[in-house]
């Protein structure tokens, strides 16, 4: 059996490797959509907040797994929520794509210049830049619940560690710590995607935004279809 410190390191490095190997593929479209929807604003702080939210959720899930000592029991309880979150993520990407392409009058949902057309647009328009940046944290909290194979695998490890814990609090702490390590490991890859899609270096961005918006809508539909079939 591996020592506790070794397990943390293994999980952290697994998160790092999976971030580049798996998360870029499965969560990359979401991160790219968020970056693109910001249309030239600085992406680092919002994405750090998004990742902080995501890791917080992972940590809480890991803690619950550690206390329960059973992966399947907890996952069964949250399955319907995860399906809902996946549909939400798909719809969010579609909406961001439509807004970015100028097909719905929402302006920059996470940006600063909304055209004041309609109720939704007015409400989004009320969000100041600071507030919209802060909104990335709860968004990360929510999207941390997205069903994901490697996250499940890490949660299995958290549940196993919980089974071996001497008492519930110990199980919670070990499970949470494992998932925090895993989540931290995945951050570099997703931040890299966020920065790569940051188009401020481009002089001619509009056509890229239009093409990207079409792709975002396609990816969003793909997410929703997958969620329905999940």
């Amino acid at each position: 059996m591996l020592s506790t410190e070794t397990i943390y390191f293994v999980v952290l490095s697994a998160g790092f490797a999976l971030g580049f190997g798996h998360c870029i593929g499965m969560c990359g479209p979401i991160v790219a959509s968020l970056s693109l929807s910001m249309r030239g604003r600085k992406v680092l702080v919002p994405h750090l907040l998004y990742n902080a939210g995501r890791i917080t959720t992972y940590g809480l899930l890991g803690g619950i797994m550690g206390v329960a000592g059973s992966f399947t029991r907890v996952v069964t309880e949250i399955a319907s929520i995860q399906k809902g979150v996946m549909i939400f993520a798909g719809l969010l990407i579609i909406m961001l794509g439509l807004a970015m392409g100028g097909w719905i009058p929402l302006g920059r949902i996470f940006g600063e210049d909304c055209a004041p057309m309609g109720f939704l647009a007015r409400e989004f328009g009320k969000m100041s830049e600071t507030r919209s940046t802060v909104a990335f944290y709860p968004l990360g909290l929510l999207l941390g619940l997205l069903p994901c194979g490697p996250v499940y695998t890490a949660l299995v490890a958290a549940a196993r560690a919980g089974m071996e814990a001497t008492h519930s609090l110990n199980g919670f702490i070990i499970g949470m710590s494992l998932m925090l390590c895993f989540g931290l490991g995945t951050v570099p890859a997703l931040l890299l995607v966020a920065k790569l899609v940051d188009l401020r270096w481009l002089r001619s961005r509009e056509i890229i935004y239009r093409i990207s918006s079409v792709m975002m809508i396609a990816v969003g539909i793909y997410f929703v279809v997958r969620a329905i079939r999940y």
Binding site: M1, V10, A14, A17, L18, G21, H22, I24, G25, M26, G28, P29, R39, F71, T72, V75, T76, M86, G102, G107, A115, L146, P147, C148, G149, P150, Y152, T153, A154, V156, A157, V197, L199, W201, L202, R203, S204, R205, E206, I207, I208, Y209, R210, I211, S212, M215, V219, Y222, R226, A227, R229, Y230
Partner: protein, 167 residues
């Protein structure tokens, strides 16, 4: 400037995606479009290869044990309950014929064509030549169902069984 030609954000342009506009993109923009298109295609592997069917299934785990020879050692792996479903507790029973390993064998579960992280099933001896352990095959939202169980027998080697699971 292309930005000026296309107008401001949200404005309509009839030739926006037309050949003429793409030709006018600066090299960096063209590079970005190319990378983005290639990345998106590779990011959605299920669109290209719907069920990871490039690797053959060599074991019907729902019908009975997976059996293979590891050098001269007969290795059998039984997963239960059946049918073998993802996201449920599974019991893995490993049978090893002939000379017994010096240390306990173990199984690494993984998805074919997609890295899902280390998912190890530690086995403990149950009887002579029989080892047992529990584990979970997780579900991938991509819809892929083909998994592999790599059995590691210390000092002997490893053998891989490829099978499908039920969602």
């Amino acid at each position: 400037m292309l930005t000026k030609q296309l107008g401001t954000y949200g404005g309509a342009h009839p030739t926006l995606l037309g050949e003429e506009s793409l030709v006018r993109l600066n090299p960096k923009a063209r590079l970005f479009v190319t990378i983005f298109c290639v990345a998106t295609l590779s990011l959605c592997p299920t669109l290209v290869s719907p069920d990871g069917k490039t690797k053959r299934i060599d074991c019907d785990a729902h019908a009975g044990p997976c059996v293979a020879y590891l050098e001269a050692t007969l290795v059998s792996l039984e997963m239960s309950p059946k049918p073998v479903k993802a996201m449920q507790e599974l019991t893995f029973t490993l049978g090893i014929g002939g000379e017994q390993p010096a240390a306990n064998p173990y199984i690494d579960l993984g998805m074919v064509g997609m890295d899902m992280g280390r998912n190890r099933v530690n086995l403990t001896p149950e009887a002579d030549g029989v080892f047992r352990g529990t584990g979970v095959i997780v579900r991938c939202p991509s819809g892929r169902r083909i998994w592999k169980a790599t059995v590691f027998v210390p000092d002997v080697g490893s053998v891989e069984f490829v099978f499908d699971v039920v969602y």
